[in-house]
């Protein structure tokens, strides 16, 4: 995260209800400029609803949403000008030609004449749309449609980008392209993207909000989340008798033996999990020395984000 940045989006105690159903339940967070924030959560968790409130599509039921210091209830039109939005499933007018569509979206955002031509040329270049400018949108592949969606969101060079599942339906190469594009954009803009694909968050986000049933259940950098939840795993390989090692390990605090298997060379490979953040490797090493076991492997691995996500959203 850059220093000296300012808060671009501030959500305070936001609640959104559809009738009696609560989609978003008193959530608060803020996003600074130069930050890429990932909304992570199962389907129906409230990610899209939160985005719809920030983009001024839906009014909040309760709470305050400030975009660049302006309230979505009062300054909707000014706020909209500052936001580029890519809704879920990339809705586009299928009967329009790519260039005409982008020109229309640019014109609606108040771009005119030479400025509009320059901005159009820029987003066409950045999104790689040169080849499909004269094609109807309904003839484009999913990847190109997604890029047209991104291009329209960026055409007025907004300081804020809200992208709802920007990589859904893309092939692996396209996903890598879009992610690197988002990373580049994130250097100067404020980006919120939603996803339920975990590697995406690690690849493109500075910070993650895990949303579950309308509430924020975790907020932090991908690294922080990994270390804050679910502890760690240790691979511990020794050449010794299994019952002896098991008995000894059970006396070590905070360690659970997940499983043990025999390797071909007489090594027993134990998978251990620990609850805390404390590094248990020195202790295990000393244990092996004390007992005279031959240590063949001692490796710590972090619980991955997938695990964190499951833990937080399973119940």
């Amino acid at each position: 995260m850059n220093t000296g940045t300012r808060v671009m989006i501030e959500v305070r105690e936001l609640t959104k209800r559809y009738g009696s159903e609560v989609a978003v339940d008193r959530i608060s967070f803020s996003v600074r400029s130069g930050e890429v924030l990932g909304f992570l959560g199962p389907n129906g968790a409230g990610k899209t609803t939160t985005m719809k409130v920030i983009t001024c599509y839906l009014p909040p039921t309760e709470g305050t949403v400030l975009v660049d210091g302006l309230d979505v209830r009062q300054d909707s039109l000014t706020i909209r000008q500052k936001i580029g939005y890519l809704p879920e499933n990339t809705p586009l007018y299928p009967d329009m030609v790519t260039y005409d569509y982008l020109e229309f979206m640019a014109a609606m955002r108040g771009l005119d004449g030479a400025v509009r031509r320059r901005r159009l040329a820029e987003v066409i270049e950045v999104c790689g749309l040169g080849e499909v400018l004269n094609k109807r949108i309904d003839t484009l592949s999913k990847g190109y449609r997604q890029r047209v969606g991104l291009a329209q969101a960026m055409v007025h060079d907004p300081p804020i980008l809200i992208l709802d599942e920007p990589t859904s339906g893309l092939d692996p190469n396209q996903i890598v392209e879009i992610r690197s594009l988002i990373k580049t954009l994130g250097r100067e803009k404020t980006v919120i993207l939603s996803t339920h694909i975990l590697p995406e968050v690690q690849a493109s986000c500075d910070r993650v909000l895990i949303i579950h049933r309308g509430r924020i259940v975790a907020d932090g950098t991908p690294d922080e989340l990994q270390s804050a939840h679910g502890g760690q795993r240790i691979l511990f390989g020794v050449q010794a008798s299994e019952s002896e090692v098991r008995a000894a390990l059970e006396r070590v605090d905070g360690v659970r033996v997940e499983d043990a298997r025999a390797e071909g060379d007489g090594t027993l490979l134990f998978r251990l999990s620990t609850d805390g953040q404390q590094d248990l490797r020195p202790e295990l090493f000393r244990l092996a020395v004390e007992r005279g076991w031959t240590l063949t492997e001692l490796h710590r691995e972090r619980v991955d984000l997938e695990e964190v996500f499951r833990q937080l959203t399973m119940n």
Binding site: T55, Y57, R80, P91, Y93, M96, M108, Q152
Partner: protein, 235 residues
């Protein structure tokens, strides 16, 4: 105002880029032409009477066909979300869509100008009646379009939007046809509310501000209901 113009232009372009536009316009001309031709050639009368008589019934089908996609299709495709998060007010979007439909309608009416020219050459038409008739058709078309937009905003399905639009217009059309079944005081209320009654007045060549006002208020009313419904952001 600039945004309304850009939106209207997009709508019109989308309409005239698709073949359905030409089918709808041709069918309209074909049917009106048939009735006009019948009067002229079979009955040997140089009059727009049967064209003007038929027009409201034709509008019941023609206008919902024009409006059915306006909001329903945007809702179905999800494009409404992008449209309504652009820096424009919902009202501007509604006005733009109404303007585009009315423009198509005026194009259709302009094409029937051939009948007027034919009559001017062949006979001695009632110019007051013709002028009133066209003014009536334009106003009737405007308010029917607003009703059609309302119908289209209520659903994601174009066919449902068409049927709803038709039902609304047909309902208002019927009001002054059932007056014999109701007491006198109610009859005059129904008559005033009828979409056809005011058109008949204008068709006679009498341009009364009450009739004009009726269509304008009906248009505004339908527009406000549409705005109210869209503000609730139906899925």
């Amino acid at each position: 105002m600039r945004e309304v113009w850009i939106l209207t232009r997009r709508e019109l372009r989308a309409f005239f880029d698709s073949p359905s536009a030409y089918i709808v316009l041709s069918v309209f001309l074909l049917i009106t032409g048939w009735f006009f031709g019948n009067t002229l050639f079979v009955e040997n009368v140089a009059s727009l009477r049967s064209f003007f008589d038929l027009a409201p019934v034709l509008f019941m089908f023609f206008i919902p066909a024009l409006t059915m996609g306006t909001f329903a299709e945007e809702r179905r495709a999800g494009t409404i979300e992008l449209l309504l998060t652009l820096p424009v007010r919902d009202g501007q979007v509604i006005v733009a869509k109404l303007l585009s439909v009315v423009t198509v309608l005026l194009v259709a009416l302009a094409l029937t100008g051939i009948y007027v020219l034919t009559l001017a050459v062949l006979g001695d038409p009632d110019n007051g009646g013709t002028l009133g008739g066209y003014l009536g058709l334009a106003l009737l078309g405007l308010s029917c379009s607003a009703l059609g937009l309302l119908a289209s905003s209520l659903t994601r399905n174009q066919i449902v939007a068409f049927i709803l639009g038709f039902a609304m217009i047909f309902g208002l059309y019927l009001l002054d046809k059932v007056t014999i079944f109701v007491p006198g005081w109610l009859a005059s209320v129904l008559e005033y509310l009828s979409i056809d009654f005011h058109y008949r007045n204008l068709m006679r060549g009498v341009i009364d501000s009450r009739d004009v006002l009726y269509y304008l208020s009906l248009t505004a009313f339908a527009g406000l209901l549409t705005a109210y419904h869209l503000a609730r952001r139906p899925e």
